[in-house]
């Protein structure tokens, strides 16, 4: 299935957001996530099903002013 992760196209076998994060090696990283513009809390990643064309954001702490 083809989705978009952080603005880049990605082909994935993951059926839910939790599995996707783990497949990317970010399962235990300090991250936050959104699906199609809406925040997905950490505890809901495992039950958030992915669909073709989904736009996923995976963010982490960064410098800011």
């Amino acid at each position: 299935m083809q989705i978009v992760v952080n603005g880049e196209p990605l082909t994935t076998e993951a059926s839910d957001l939790g599995t996707l994060c783990a497949a990317l090696g970010l399962g235990d990283a300090k991250i936050a996530t959104a699906r199609n513009g809406a925040f997905v809390p950490a505890e809901a990643r495992g039950t958030t099903q992915l669909a073709a064309g989904d736009e996923i954001e995976i963010v982490a702490p960064r410098q800011g002013g």
Binding site: L26, K30, A32, A34, V59, A60, R62, Q63, G64, G65
Partner: protein, 264 residues
């Protein structure tokens, strides 16, 4: 000097410092310590699975042991800002958010309509919102009405180092909101700008680039720390009013060789 309190939280400094644009992580860390700031601002950005940039940065911030204020920098709509704030609340385990809704990329001017809309939604959702706004009093009134207990007007455009572009309007804002903490956010280039804001009665200053891009950020952080303290001390002490004419500070009475002109 009195203590700054934001959202019922007493803070040990009136300086809020940004974490972006320093020459190195080590200089960032030393500059933050030298500034004496009690709050550091941070952002959240897309994490690359390969580089994992955010993970190392977070370790550095945790080591500082200070309160973290995440921002919604770069958001152009209330929807983006709200989702970013929600991600930040989980990521940084804080309900404090520096709310930015940007109108356009050239001026980085706040979109006041979007800002008020996002502030209403976030305050209703339990966030403690610190809105990056302009000097506009009606927008400020709506932000306070939405539940914002702090206002953060710009001095001049972000990163411009132009100081207080409109001191008269900032003075009006201080007079109009005597009880609401006001933090001067953005546009500060020199410690004298920060001192000016504090002398006007502002409660604090948030700045980043003027320290990060200084020749010696650690020393500049000390400079800002002292300027902000000096400005606040002056405000609390009560500044004298400017006069039109000279007035001798040394007593006139008893001046040697003194004679009154035309004494006859």
């Amino acid at each position: 000097m009195t203590q700054l309190t934001l959202y019922d939280t007493p803070l040990s400094s009136r300086l809020l410092i940004g974490t972006a644009g320093y020459p190195s992580p080590e200089i960032l860390s030393r500059a933050v310590k030298a500034s004496g700031a009690a709050i550091v601002t941070v952002s959240l950005r897309r994490e690359s699975a390969r580089q994992r940039t955010g993970q190392g940065f977070w370790q550095l911030i945790e080591e500082l042991g200070l309160r973290v204020l995440p921002n919604t920098a770069g958001c152009h709509t209330p929807k983006e800002a709200i989702a970013t704030a929600q991600m930040a609340r989980e990521l940084f385990a804080t309900d404090w958010i520096k709310l930015e809704v940007i109108a356009n990329d050239d001026t980085l001017q706040p979109d006041l309509f979007g800002l008020v809309e996002a502030a209403k939604a976030l305050c209703a959702d339990g966030f403690k919102v610190l809105p990056y706004t302009t000097e506009d009093l009606s927008a400020a009134e709506q932000l306070v009405g939405a539940g914002c207990e702090v206002l953060m007007p710009w001095g001049s455009p972000i990163g411009s180092a132009r100081g207080l572009a409109n001191p008269h309007a900032l003075k009006s804002m201080r007079a109009y909101f005597p009880e609401t903490p006001l933090i001067l956010d953005a546009g500060i280039g020199a410690p004298s700008h920060a001192a000016e804001a504090m002398e006007l009665g502002f409660d604090g200053v948030l700045l980043n680039t003027a320290i990060a891009k200084a020749g010696d950020p650690v020393q500049m952080a000390q400079g800002f720390r002292k300027a902000i303290e000096a400005g606040r001390l002056a405000f609390e002490a009560g500044l004298m009013e400017p006069q039109e004419m000279a007035s001798p500070s040394t007593p006139v009475a008893g001046t040697p060789f003194f004679t009154i002109d035309n004494a006859s």
